[in-house]
Amino acid sequence: MPDAVIEISGLRKSFRRRHRPRRVALDGLDLVVPRGGVHGFLGPNGSGKTTTIRVLLGLCRPDSGRIRIMGADVPRSLPAVISELGALVETPRFHPESSGRFNLGLLARAGDLPPTRVEEVLELVGLRDRAGDAFSGYSLGMKQRLGIAAALLGRPRLVILDEPGNGLDPEGLRDVRDLIRQLGSQGHTTVLLSSHLLPEVQSVCDRVSVLARGRCVASGTVAELLAAPGDADLQVRADRHDAARAVLEDAGWQVSAMTGSGEPPSWRVHAVADRAAVTSTLAERRIYVTELIPLQRDLESAYLELTAAHSEVADALAGQAPAEARGRGRGRAQGEEGERR
């Protein structure tokens, strides 16, 4: 048995649209989710998280790529492992006129589970008091809890939760976070937690994969992501200050002014792979560096940079509207940078 519960390689999926080119949702996604703990699946809206989960569950057919869940090929062998799987995809879907308890009961009966299990999961998500009410009368947060309860019904070894925090109030968020942490720490269950909100993931996840434009742009423990080499920003000050900026931008780096770094402000050079390259580039033009500080980042900026840079790279490579509007030169420069990395 391999040590990964989910292995995805080269996954592509595009959607047909009327009178328009196909929308590429997944563009060669690689993802490995190791067994145990909580794995964050982080990416901005539209980056392909839900599509990945749909493909994993056999709800969508991939165009190409290899997918394995607990060693079983998806979608062909999905039925063999489906009983070990629980999932909440996007909005929870239940019979609107029936109660939460009745809806779970239907699922329990279809899955040969004892009715007592329904009460257990209702208790677990804190929905027992309102379990007799019609689903359509639930608040967004209660619907979400019922969806989580349904995902946990069969004591799955892999739980996939797609944005479970949607619509929850702060208290509900905390409950769900605690629940996920608890699930991940039991050792029996692996949780794949998708979210576009960093704090939701950061506080509960052992490992994170970051998605942008249908690709996995980073993967590892939270600490690894923060320390990712090649992604560090540099704070730079030089003798010919304005010329330095022009030279660095010509060389393809993204440069911005750092507020609160004195007068004139230092330059922040984004996502530098090789610090020596910065100094030597400036030196070739006889500009001498007076200050060079690697910037410690938080996950927030790492996330924003990862996803933003990739969006622009993808825009530029695809020659799509946003990059064109921004001007070809810059788009190309960043494209080259993207390739260099």
Partner: protein, 321 residues
């Protein structure tokens, strides 16, 4: 599940309605047949016959009313002798009609089976359509990802329920008819009529089955109950009328015509104008084609098979987002 509550209510209405309506119809519309009521009816017939005889006697003994009448013999100008037996069967002189199974059994059975066909289409389309429209189907597929199995289970369950409904309708109505016959009627059914009633029930059950499957497929293909109803109405009203007027020769292949043919013992007759050009010029005539119930059954079965395959292929490959 709204459909569940709705179904329960419908069933309750049907059962209660049946238990109240049927005896009410029996009591108000039909007459009990017993030696006593028959004796009363016989007396009424005798009284009427006596009235006729009276009038005849008066006429025979009285003078002719006109010069024209005077030329005829009394026998010629007066009403004929009408004994009681010639006034009609005793039953006609009961205060209400008698339940005669040979007249009622078949037509009512046909009407009930048509209603059942419509009901199972609505129920099937609503059941599957609401799962698809509310996307509860996604929750179900996360538990059972084998799409073919889900398709077969849903359509199969519907088919079983539809057949059960058809058999119940046949059983309940024939039982009621038997009770009616015992209470208010006279059993005049021949063995042949029993056989054709059973055959009628069988053909009706087949139509009910086709209708349920059509409802399910309509919902699977259009992804909603409303879509299935729309497709049905569009087919029956627009397509059939259009083809009936533009391409009348194709009528015998229309689903609606074949459904009627399947239900009717002797099939249905469709006609279309045909022109012959002979030596004298143009001669218009109408060609009549009998669409037999076997024809109807075979055409519907083939059509359903094709539609089921299309719906299944679409369902198996479809992205559920």
């Amino acid at each position: 599940m709204r459909s569940r509550r709705w179904l329960r209510l419908l069933t309750l209405f049907a059962v209660v309605g049946y238990l109240i309506v049927i005896p009410a119809i029996g009591v108000t519309q039909f007459s009990r047949v017993s030696p006593q009521t028959l004796a009363d009816a016989s007396a009424r017939r005798d009284a009427l016959a006596a009235q006729f005889a009276d009038r005849r006697e008066q006429c025979l003994s009285g003078p002719a009313r006109s010069a024209q009448a005077a030329r005829l013999t009394p026998e010629q100008r007066c009403p004929p002798r009408l004994p009681a037996e010639e006034l009609g069967p005793v039953e006609q002189f009961l205060p209400k009609q008698v339940f005669v199974p040979s007249e009622f059994l078949g037509p009512v059975l046909t009407a009930l089976l048509w209603l059942t066909s419509i009901a199972v289409f609505v129920v099937g389309a609503h059941w599957i359509g609401s799962d698809l429209a509310t996307r509860v189907i996604v929750t179900q597929l996360i538990q059972e990802p084998r799409r073919t199995r889900v398709f077969v289970a849903k359509t199969g369950l519907l088919a079983v329920v539809a057949l059960g409904a058809a058999v119940s309708v046949v059983a309940v109505w024939t039982t009621s008819a038997a009770l009616f016959t015992a209470a208010f009627g006279r059993n005049d059914l021949t063995v042949n009529q029993w056989v054709s009633t059973v055959a009628q029930g069988g053909r009706g059950a087949a139509l009910v089955l086709v209708s349920a499957v059509a409802g399910a497929i309509g919902a699977f293909l259009t992804r909603s109950a409303a879509g299935a109803f729309g497709a049905l109405v569009g087919e029956l009203v627009v397509v059939e009328l259009l083809i009936g007027s533009v391409l009348p020769r194709w009528q015998e292949w229309l689903p609606g015509v074949n459904a009627r043919a399947l239900m009717a013992q002797d099939g249905v007759i469709v006609s279309y104008p045909e022109e012959w050009i002979d030596l004298d010029g143009t001669l218009r005539d109408t060609v009549e084609v009998t669409v037999s119930s076997a024809h109807g059954g075979i055409v519907l079965a083939c059509l359903m098979t094709v539609l089921v395959m299309i719906a299944w292929a679409d369902w198996r490959r479809r992205d559920l987002t």
